[in-house]
């Protein structure tokens, strides 16, 4: 049984079929990259999995549980985390507070009412060291640069510690060195997490992907290893637009 099973997933936005009959499985501990031209429906696919968008049809099973009708917070509690294409961190909160919010092992109100936010723990420092934000721990997130904001959101997802992490264009706006670092982090995350990564940067995809799915106009165009995808004629056509 795969960790995530997507079957015949559909969604339409006022006539536009943004996702049109997607089928795929994701295995525990693998990194699946979603590729495709702009508007192919990659972000929308992630939206459907994390609950931001309701499907018009189809099923999504996570750890053998049908989740397509669940609330977003319920899916998050089951172990699905999401990084958005537009970096979404809390700009008015400090870096530490952002991580504290993300660290939601016990998301219930009673726990929140009876505990103080963690502002500086060994675990938090470890994560911040990993993404290179250790010296910004007390800064408001609004003061970070675009690249640092990306890092912070990645750090938040690591802190959240979801079993399945959905990453939407995590390296956008990063330098080559930063991208390499991200690749290394992603590979180390593989031990305990499953990742679905939407990316345009092919060299990044080449380093991290275990498997690739190429989308076009809402449906799956090709699936396979990096070599298979790079030699696929249909993919070339979709990208070059013939």
């Amino acid at each position: 049984m795969s960790q995530l099973e997507v079957r015949d997933l559909h969604v339409t936005f006022g006539g536009l079929r943004a996702v049109d009959g997607m089928n795929f499985d994701v295995e525990q501990g693998e990194i699946l990259c979603l590729l495709g031209p702009n508007g192919a429906g990659k972000s929308t696919t992630l939206d459907l999995i994390c609950g931001k968008t309701q499907p018009t049809g189809g099923s999504i099973r996570f750890q053998n549980l049908e989740i397509s009708q669940m609330w977003e917070f319920e899916r998050a509690r089951l172990g699905i985390g999401r990084k958005f294409q537009v970096p979404s961190v809390y700009k008015e909160l400090t870096v530490a507070e952002n991580l504290s919010v993300a660290r939601s092992v016990k998301p219930g109100i009673w726990h929140a009412l009876t505990s103080l936010p963690v502002r500086n723990s060994a675990k938090m420092r470890e994560i911040l060291d990993l993404v290179g934000l250790a010296d910004k721990i007390g800064e408001p997130a609004g003061n970070l640069s675009h690249g640092e904001t990306q890092w912070l959101e990645i750090a938040m997802l690591i802190a959240q510690d979801s079993r399945l992490i959905l990453m939407d264009e995590p390296t956008a706006g990063m330098t080559i060195q930063e991208t390499d670092r991200t690749a290394r982090i992603f590979r180390s995350l593989k031990a305990n997490h499953t990742l679905i990564v939407v990316e345009h940067d092919m060299s990044f995809v080449r380093t991290v992907a275990d498997r690739i799915i190429v989308m076009n106009q809402g449906s799956k165009l090709a699936e396979g290893s990096i070599q298979e995808i790079e030699s696929n004629e249909a993919v070339k056509t979709a990208y070059l637009g013939h």
Binding site: G51, W71, Q85, V86, K91, L93, V101, L113
Partner: protein, 366 residues
């Protein structure tokens, strides 16, 4: 960041010193002045309650006066029954009510009254909150729904003359008897009673804002959508804080009815509700302590200045409020925080110095 907690504790200690020792000494233990100040302190509670929902969670409740009014009526009902003895309250006979209405009966009991004044507003606030937040109503729509509720509620209270005394409200109340102590509202003890209530409310409020609960509310205020993907049930968080805030408002209302010795539908008016918003904004909505100080300062100013500018006072208040919204959106609190930061010579970041925005619509990410 632990320093924020430290500053709040220092601030609270200073405030407590001024309220508990400074004020009585300053006014020479004059009964009338103490009574006036007790009134300000009870209003400080409702202002800090609004800071909890509006400042911390970004939920602008324009119906705060409704729950405040509920508390005041609960207290007034108890005292009216006491004043009427075995007879029916006078206004009921004027309205041809023959027997004591069922909902009045339990208010013979002081324990019930105190619980009701706290829990009924909290429950009503909670219900409104569930109703709104389950549907993910946010931003200005929260303001509109709570405002409409307030207007409707006040109309009901005025309409139901036999139950509520209508436009006149509940007057001719007996003094409260608390553990055998007949409360004299012009005494120092009464002043300390109200002061203690305010301090308890403030400690509670400060605890809430510094707890993880407070942090998550701030996260929700900034981006409720995002917070859901971390597994938080946003509607529940909003409901709880809304309900707590309503309960505190009810408590304040009870004290207010004691101080003024009557309850009136004007406590539930739109202008009263908006006045609470002013106090909270002037003090600073991000801090419960600042909101309490704001209520005291504005009311103090009103008390002193309205004698001087009998007619012009409201104009002055309008101008003051407009200036605060435009140039000090974080209120006195913001000014102090910015000044403190400037003194420590850390460069003030532009982003942080700006007020928080509550977006009219949820952000849309792709």
């Amino acid at each position: 960041m632990q320093s924020r907690l430290l500053y709040d504790i220092i601030g609270l200690a200073l405030f407590a010193g001024v309220i508990l020792f400074g004020v009585p000494a300053l006014f020479g233990y004059d009964g009338f002045e103490l009574n006036t100040f007790s009134r300000y302190l009870s209003l400080a509670i409702v202002s800090m309650a609004l800071a909890l929902s509006w400042g911390t969670a970004g939920l602008l409740n324009l119906g705060q006066a409704a729950t405040f009014g509920m508390g005041s009526y609960a207290m007034a009902m108890h005292l009216k029954l006491k004043a009427s003895g075995d007879n029916l309250p006078d206004f009921m006979s004027w309205n041809n009510v023959e027997a004591l209405p069922l909902i009045w009966a339990p208010f013979h009991s002081l324990t019930f009254t105190l619980l009701a004044g706290l829990l009924i507003p909290a429950a009503v606030g909670g219900l409104i909150a569930i109703f709104m937040f389950r549907a993910r109503i946010a931003g200005v729509f929260v303001a509109v729904i709570t405002l409409a509720f307030l207007v409707a509620f006040q109309l009901v209270v005025i309409e139901q003359q036999g139950l509520t005394g209508g436009q006149n409200g509940l007057t001719g109340l007996a003094p409260l008897v608390l553990f055998g102590w007949s409360v004299d509202i012009y005494s120092l003890s009464f002043y300390y009673l109200v002061g203690a209530c305010l301090m308890i409310a403030l400690v509670f409020g400060l605890y809430l804002t510094h707890s993880k609960f407070g942090l998550i509310l701030r996260a929700i205020r900034e981006d409720s959508e995002r917070t859901r993907y971390f597994g938080y049930n946003v509607a529940n968080y909003q409901t709880i804080i809304f309900s707590i805030s309503a309960g505190l408002a009810g408590w304040a209302g009870m004290l207010y009815a004691l101080v003024l010795e009557f309850a009136s539908p004007t406590y539930m008016s739109v202008s009263f509700s908006l006045a609470i918003v002013i106090w909270c904004a002037v003090g600073g909505r991000e801090s419960v302590l600042a909101a309490a100080v704001g209520a005291i300062l504005v009311n103090l100013a009103e008390g002193r200045l309205s004698d001087v500018f009998v007619e012009g006072w409201h104009l002055l208040l309008g101008v003051l409020f407009l200036m605060v919204v435009m140039f000090m959106p974080r209120g006195i609190y913001g000014v102090i925080v910015d000044a403190g930061r400037a003194m420590r010579r850390k460069p003030v970041s532009k982003k942080e110095a700006q007020p928080f925005e509550t977006s009219l619509n949820p952000k849309r990410e792709s």
